[in-house]
Symmetry: C2
């Protein structure tokens, strides 16, 4: 069972959304209108054994990731975080000290992104830890950037570097990208606020560029052509490639959990970096082709379709 | 470890809430101001083995409860639901059909209370099913009723009947209260909209009157005196008492999962029923006494303190 099939089912089964729903399910955040104000919402889970390994991860980093995973969705809309609620189901024997450390970390992370925790629910069970965080946000003067705005001829960009997100590095010491990344909220809002740099479509890279970029294409009715030799491959992806024997570009494309942004914009409008974060051109938007959302120029000069290259959560 | 201690920790560690947080953590819902509009938020979990037993419960009722548990919090604020997001962590092997039935049920329940699902997150793991639903709501012309407004001299009321919520009844056939209850949203909004019936303080009964009423008292700085012989004891609580050998009033006070409302109001202002739902006077608010939030007049005429009478989730 694939997550996408299920999500599609959810969306299909809600054909008559009320008038107040301004961004329907299927984007990084949904949105409703409340008393004339637009409220964006997203929810994400961090489960022990799936998104984190509690046995080998400091509890502070677990709490941080529960917040930052969601904030990456906020960044993908170029929205401004407003507040969060957190639900935790703790394993029996988790202990009061661990629980406090966990919530302290969620609090501190949330506050550091101006997104206070304003409520929660705590249960306990004989299963593993799971944290579910819901964050709401507001446009605050910047129209949300949807997945559906990509146009033929757009350049495809990614922020930062890709791949190897679960590899722990010595430089900086102890850094593991999927636990330590910075949601690209400020960068996204800076780009989106300026008409000359505003992305036409944007998504955050949680499942890997190979799976997430086709989602932009599906929503926009276009196709992507990606150049593997342009991918900003992270040092961790190179390390992963040494260990796996696979090419580093495959790690960059398929590892997932980069929490960088992928977006499209008209040619010639983007700087090479924003606030110290590199912005790299990785391909072009082309016309829709039946049965394909993305093709990849491989290093050997051949062209490949990419169905299944990405890392779908638990696919 | 008790849920309350942990929640207290969360609230204490957030002393400097931003200006936009109009209802801080500690009530049935939190609230923030967004673009001039007030948005109320609540989150609740339904975990297999804790809040439902998947092996013996139709999946449709599991999905329904994930929505209605939250809507009971909306009722407790006299708010109007606006939308929901749902996160699910499914056990491996759960199956596509079960997953679809689950989401269909969540959808149908949400829609039937005018609270469309507008987003979600689905993961899968080798642990049990857990559903986390976040609902947001708006005042829509009715100021939220907080837990903190109870005054000395107020009458304490409950809606419906209490106790035995996990007992399945033959009349109506197959009815199990904790799975089939109706969140008291309409009733709450009707009472709260009319100045002559507006509750001063309100909470929904999830952990049992014996634990939930003291929460009103704590937030209001008062004490409750409860008459056990006034409690509206449900037929299921009588059945539970036959099986357990404990008095039925103890089941009404401590079983939990009633999802009825408890509220306080000035004497002489409340009807006996609203929209077919009985409203029963069960006690009075009295002045705060050191170390006690609630005393109970027992059937034998004695007065008891009630610390620990309620059923705290997983305490």
């Amino acid at each position: 069972m694939r997550e996408l099939e299920l999500l599609s089912h959810i969306y299909r089964s809600n054909p008559t959304l009320p008038v107040g729903v301004t961004i329907p399910p299927g984007d990084d955040m949904g949105a409703v209108t409340l008393g004339g104000a637009s409220v964006l919402v997203t929810v994400d889970q961090v489960a022990d054994g799936v998104h984190v390994d509690l046995a080998s991860t400091p509890i502070e980093k677990v709490g941080r990731k529960a917040i930052t995973r969601n904030l990456s969705d906020v960044a993908a809309m170029a929205a401004k975080p407003v507040g969060a609620v957190a639900a935790a189901c703790l394993p029996k024997g988790f202990g009061q000290d661990m629980a406090k450390a966990l919530f302290d970390a969620m609090h501190a992370s949330a506050e550091s992104f101006n997104c206070p925790l304003i409520g929660g629910d705590i249960s306990m069970w004989d299963q593993r830890l799971i944290l579910t965080v819901t964050i709401f946000a507001e446009p605050d003067g910047i129209d949300p950037v949807l997945r559906s705005g990509a146009q033929v001829g757009d350049v495809i960009y990614v922020t930062g570097q890709l791949g190897g997100s679960i590899i722990t590095l010595d430089d900086p010491p102890g850094y593991t990208h999927h636990l330590d990344f910075t949601p690209r909220i400020d960068l996204a809002r800076k780009l989106a606020a300026d008409p000359t740099t505003r992305p036409r479509a944007m998504i955050d890279l949680s499942d890997g560029l190979g799976l997430d970029l086709p989602r932009i294409c599906e929503q926009s009715g276009v196709c992507a052509q990606l150049d593997t030799d342009r991918l900003p491959i992270s040092p961790a992806a190179h390390l992963a490639a040494q260990r796996s024997g696979q090419p580093a570009w495959q790690h960059a494309l398929g590892d997932g959990e980069d929490y960088e942004l992928c977006f499209t914009a008209p040619p010639g409008t983007l700087p090479d970096e924003v606030e110290g974060v590199p912005i790299t051109e990785v391909g072009r938007i082309v016309a829709q082709r039946p049965g394909s959302r993305m093709t990849v120029h491989l290093p050997d000069g051949t062209l490949a379709d990419t169905a299944g290259l990405g890392w779908e959560h638990l696919g």
